[in-house]
Symmetry: T
Subunit: 155 residues, 12 copies
Amino acid sequence: MSTVKSPLPDEARKVTGAALQESLVDLVDLHLLGKQAHWNLTGRNFRSLHLQLDELVDLARAHADTVAERAVAIGVNPDGRARTVAETTKVHQLDAGYLQDDKVVAAITDLLAQMIQRFRDRIETTDDSDLVTQDLLIAVAQDLEKQHWMFEAQR
Amino acid sequence: MSTVKSPLPDEARKVTGAALQESLVDLVDLHLLGKQAHWNLTGRNFRSLHLQLDELVDLARAHADTVAERAVAIGVNPDGRARTVAETTKVHQLDAGYLQDDKVVAAITDLLAQMIQRFRDRIETTDDSDLVTQDLLIAVAQDLEKQHWMFEAQR
Amino acid sequence: MSTVKSPLPDEARKVTGAALQESLVDLVDLHLLGKQAHWNLTGRNFRSLHLQLDELVDLARAHADTVAERAVAIGVNPDGRARTVAETTKVHQLDAGYLQDDKVVAAITDLLAQMIQRFRDRIETTDDSDLVTQDLLIAVAQDLEKQHWMFEAQR
Amino acid sequence: MSTVKSPLPDEARKVTGAALQESLVDLVDLHLLGKQAHWNLTGRNFRSLHLQLDELVDLARAHADTVAERAVAIGVNPDGRARTVAETTKVHQLDAGYLQDDKVVAAITDLLAQMIQRFRDRIETTDDSDLVTQDLLIAVAQDLEKQHWMFEAQR
Amino acid sequence: MSTVKSPLPDEARKVTGAALQESLVDLVDLHLLGKQAHWNLTGRNFRSLHLQLDELVDLARAHADTVAERAVAIGVNPDGRARTVAETTKVHQLDAGYLQDDKVVAAITDLLAQMIQRFRDRIETTDDSDLVTQDLLIAVAQDLEKQHWMFEAQR
Amino acid sequence: MSTVKSPLPDEARKVTGAALQESLVDLVDLHLLGKQAHWNLTGRNFRSLHLQLDELVDLARAHADTVAERAVAIGVNPDGRARTVAETTKVHQLDAGYLQDDKVVAAITDLLAQMIQRFRDRIETTDDSDLVTQDLLIAVAQDLEKQHWMFEAQR
Amino acid sequence: MSTVKSPLPDEARKVTGAALQESLVDLVDLHLLGKQAHWNLTGRNFRSLHLQLDELVDLARAHADTVAERAVAIGVNPDGRARTVAETTKVHQLDAGYLQDDKVVAAITDLLAQMIQRFRDRIETTDDSDLVTQDLLIAVAQDLEKQHWMFEAQR
Amino acid sequence: MSTVKSPLPDEARKVTGAALQESLVDLVDLHLLGKQAHWNLTGRNFRSLHLQLDELVDLARAHADTVAERAVAIGVNPDGRARTVAETTKVHQLDAGYLQDDKVVAAITDLLAQMIQRFRDRIETTDDSDLVTQDLLIAVAQDLEKQHWMFEAQR
Amino acid sequence: MSTVKSPLPDEARKVTGAALQESLVDLVDLHLLGKQAHWNLTGRNFRSLHLQLDELVDLARAHADTVAERAVAIGVNPDGRARTVAETTKVHQLDAGYLQDDKVVAAITDLLAQMIQRFRDRIETTDDSDLVTQDLLIAVAQDLEKQHWMFEAQR
Amino acid sequence: MSTVKSPLPDEARKVTGAALQESLVDLVDLHLLGKQAHWNLTGRNFRSLHLQLDELVDLARAHADTVAERAVAIGVNPDGRARTVAETTKVHQLDAGYLQDDKVVAAITDLLAQMIQRFRDRIETTDDSDLVTQDLLIAVAQDLEKQHWMFEAQR
Amino acid sequence: MSTVKSPLPDEARKVTGAALQESLVDLVDLHLLGKQAHWNLTGRNFRSLHLQLDELVDLARAHADTVAERAVAIGVNPDGRARTVAETTKVHQLDAGYLQDDKVVAAITDLLAQMIQRFRDRIETTDDSDLVTQDLLIAVAQDLEKQHWMFEAQR
Amino acid sequence: MSTVKSPLPDEARKVTGAALQESLVDLVDLHLLGKQAHWNLTGRNFRSLHLQLDELVDLARAHADTVAERAVAIGVNPDGRARTVAETTKVHQLDAGYLQDDKVVAAITDLLAQMIQRFRDRIETTDDSDLVTQDLLIAVAQDLEKQHWMFEAQR
């Protein structure tokens, strides 16, 4: 079976690949949780948050796709299956059932803050291993930090 | 906390809600696996399948949203979190790593065939409990059966 | 003067026609009241509700048109004039003057809940008289029940 | 409850508000009757008139919205509910049942001619009370007079 | 050669397949005759009918495609070749040469009325054999009955 | 009944009209067969061919319309009814049932090659009888020869 | 002052230039008369003809532009001023005042028939002088002959 | 023959109608001359002016249509035929043949300045006779004065 | 250097020019302050207000452009530089730093109310000096008064 | 009042925040001056420059928004009010009154050259303090340097 | 390896193929030189020419594609590689380095004039060998001659 | 003649300019070869590859434009003429004549792999000389590496 020849030396490929796989898990879990809140939301700000969460979901899906395709482009197989995400995610989970609007704002703000720190670490890591991947992770961080502000501002 | 008053009597709501939650798990897992194959695909038919899998993903995401919003509209909380999907899914999983094109065609054809039977059972069930939900499940089945044919035709 | 030949036998046409005329009155009154609230609204959630009410109005207008054209397609004349609506409507009316946002949410939630029951009865009725019309009323009910949830969620 | 502070002195507000409320009733009734004819039409020119009536309906709905929002912008509550329209309208009503195409042309031409005179009177009135509202009523009159010509031309 | 595995048991597949094949012949012949009239039309209402016939053609083509793809999705080969259509169609044919506008209105109205009855019979048949196919035939019937009204209204 | 006055002298009109009628039969049969293959296709290249056949169908339908409207514009009645097509077509027919992808490529390539020769003959013929019609047939030939190459290239 | 160097020898340029200038006058007058009828039309078919005349105007304006730009591209100055058109036009003029719909159909049909003959003569002329210009005049003739049919068909 | 009933008293109709007919002649001549310059232009600023003149042409055509339809809406027949324009226009004409860019700028600037004065007079006139028409002429003047500035600025 | 010749007499030009320059300062400051609030906003209604403020900014920018181009069209140079705005603005300024949502609503409502009075004065002034400019200021006032209502309604 | 928690340590936040605030002042002043020139321009190249300046304005506005939102996302309040811009801007100002086209080209070229140097310094600064902000400033510099070339090329 | 069966006899194919290959070289070189000038341009008319050259590039690329696909459609392999173009082009080359605007206008005008003569020769040649190809070369010539005028007009 | 003042010091400009010129040659040759394969392709995967190659061509053209405009923005003249490309390209050339699909996949994969290494070297080089240019080259590398994967995956 054909395998993709990496443009990176082995060590760099390994380090960069790990950063991308972790990013993928973050982003897949983000869009699953974003939808979970989008559906189970209640409270005065329902409509406004309902729409904002869908923007977060779209953004997470688009970045997940870019991140996974970057992995395979450097010869590393991305894994975004439900079990892999469930078992390796570092994202704080939401409860089942109805979710009150102010609790959703707080929870999303917090999980974004933590995810941002993980992305900033990966930006550090890839500074040595692959500038092309780093550029892509910086773009993700820019969007996550903007979303973080927009949730925190209404806390 | 506000909870949605169901337009259905209790028993009908319970039966219908269960059908919708199972459908949601099917459809979320379908879009996660569709993406998994979209990324890790290899073989002569790479480009054609790569694009077709993205159509399947879009379709699964759109139906998952409709199904989950239907659940909450009848007063049942949908659950589409990674762990819930990983633990309750009945969908046959794909392996990690590169996926050969003909194996992907076979695997997707088979998992769609099985998913279609589950949807047909739910269409039976909701014939008594809620015609409005049934109509929505029929629309999902129509699309899945069309996709099934289009994958099987190239087997 | 030409009259439309019905594809239905007489009794079925009469029963189905009545269901459609009642649906038309519901939907015309819904879009008039939706606009009434859209204009006279006040309160913290003004903008969000103002926009949401316009979505409800668009949806009610589109379904009213489909319902009325269905009536004439089976040889029954729909009547959506102001006086007919005013005199036969079963929709609970809004007061004149400014309308506080939370009161609007409560009022719309309630009138949708009642309208949904009437549509569910008509779905029952047309199960025997005309499956084509039933399909169309199911589509209306789907949308109304989704709107009902979205208003109730912010109650 | 918050009320909108008017940019107009009291007397001007009262006179202008009355002109706008009457205009609203004219325009809501126009779009209800336009639809009534759109649905119940018969005759050789069915398709052409069916489409033209929908243009009239769209135009009436757009102007009704502008007129009502102008009312509330000057601190006057618009009232577009079915009963209010039914009881205060000055528009000559259409009969129930099928409507022959040439009769529809004649009826619409006549009711537009009368409505235009009422708008011209309101343009006079608002010349003293509010130039901003007058400008908006002039725009309505322009469109109604163009429609009047287009219906009369095929009489 | 790969053949599509049907989601239906054999008897249901046979009955449903026959209903779909007959529907396909109806719809292909409808779009061929619609074009025939679109081209050879004469009379005062030329332009209006010329455009309306093209809408009918578009609608027939879209439904023909859906119906044929549904057939193959349940493991039945659709046949829409000229000879098959010519030999099995039940649609009353138009004459060659110029077609006067009022004759076209009458002919299309009549052939739609008969086609609607055939679709209503197939809706009955598929109520037992396949609800997914039935839903699709109901959608065709809705459109044909609306077209029927719009042709008949100008008779 | 009004008949269209031809801009051509009688003999030229007759010759040109015959060329257009034969072209119409070619193109109608081409779009019917294109759809037949689009639906009943199987094999590895299913998706790619399925899409390519639809492009061929669209192109054949658009040219058929232009050709038929040209005929009536020179005072000749086009005939595109199923029976006429079935009885006068020179296009080699496809079998019923599933069609293997490589056989479809071969069959379409061949039938296009033959159709192209017929169009080249008609271009010769109309060089004397009507340059305006010739220009239109050249445009058809350009598209058919491009399609022919694109099918043959994958043979 | 810069003048455009012609790609044609002098005699060919002169003949071709004359054909283009005459075509320009035809097409400018056609769009002025098309608008004249568009505005002053009355009668049962008002709306249908009103729209059709605007299509004719758009078509005439587009071709006038192409024809004039072709003239200057071969080094001949086009002249489309009101006086030039008024004094050199060969198009039969419409009367001032209201224009009855059937009279408009007859008048436009006749003036198109005559204009088509003039274009056919210019196609002859340019067969020797400039094939590039001829191709462009053929395109104009195609459209005019289609319009001619569409007006004549409703005579 | 049907004639349009004017919403204006006789004297007002006459005065307003004259203002509209003169405006129509101005605007038709403006778009004919705009095209004349668009085609015959030479000089360094060719491309920039060529595009700007087409914007002027579009604007003149759109206003001409509105002005003419306003005339007929008040019961006055507009006349935009070539001879009428040639004989009654007050617009200073451009010469035949090539037109140098700076001369075009000067000529258009001057003819716009004069046309603007005529429109300002008509705005005065219609202040008494018809406010609805006045509003429309003000819109024309606004655009012409903006164009005047944009041509003069590059003088 | 070329200067634009005014269509207005000197005195009228001076008065009108002053009204336009003051309007420009109002509108430039409005879009700068709208953005200031858009960025520094906090509170529960963050998202809704954030979007609404951007609509206000777009509207202010569009009107500022029209107003400035009107000034130069009558031969007066508009001045929208930062220092000019800072020194001549009459708009009440927002504080630096975070801005609480309810305070923003109150501040914008108040500054719009005052700006509206200034526009109404300018509408008075230009009634004598330039009706074309007045029409444009009325359009600004219409939009500002609508915005004022929409902010005040959520106070 | 809620304040945004910065993803940066204090010193880095301070340095980065200062770079962003200075960038904001540059970009707001750039769009105000771009508009000033857009309006007051004269000379042969009026139209071309008028359009080019609007592209510069759009670009400056879009980057200003991104820069300001980045500031608040790292917990620093951006300040884009008129007075702040007027008092802290380092951009060389344009004079009031008409601006000759070649002078505008020279002035814009020069002020862009200086602004580019300031952005290059900020890119240096943020290399240590925040790579995410740096990426954003690089994007601004890319656009400014392209604009600089396009103005300088026509000097 | 599959080769495309030509619809042309051998001699005609050879002659036509040569004409197409030479046209391809002309058009590829035209788009490379158009871009060369687009990038290295300087002078007062920079922006206007910069945009015009891109239109020329788009046009040359589109025609190059059509010409090359026509070649392969008649069984002749097109060759558009850099070396082939460099060695067989007849187009006069531009110098390296900055290109003054008036020199670019002169150079493009001249190279287009020469290219047009070559296309006119190929139109002659293909009149005997292949009318379908000729039609396509006429379309190229039309566009090149229009571009030639538009460059020459600003010389 | 005006020359662009570089924002870079001399040495940095020289190094960066060389990197950009080499990138330009790579990208121009890539789009010429992409088209060569697009036209001369044969084999089972014809259609899929034919489309994919056009995506590669579009991408190469867009990046070539950005790279060349960046060169001139830093004061270096880009050279993309056919002879320059032919003589300095390092891209492995395709043969003339038909190209079998699997050979094309292999050839494009290999030439992309080599081009990627050259881009990675230039990213190294510009890390010191110009971060703004580096950012742009990283974007090119991202796209080329993605394309490389997509070709290699189907090898």
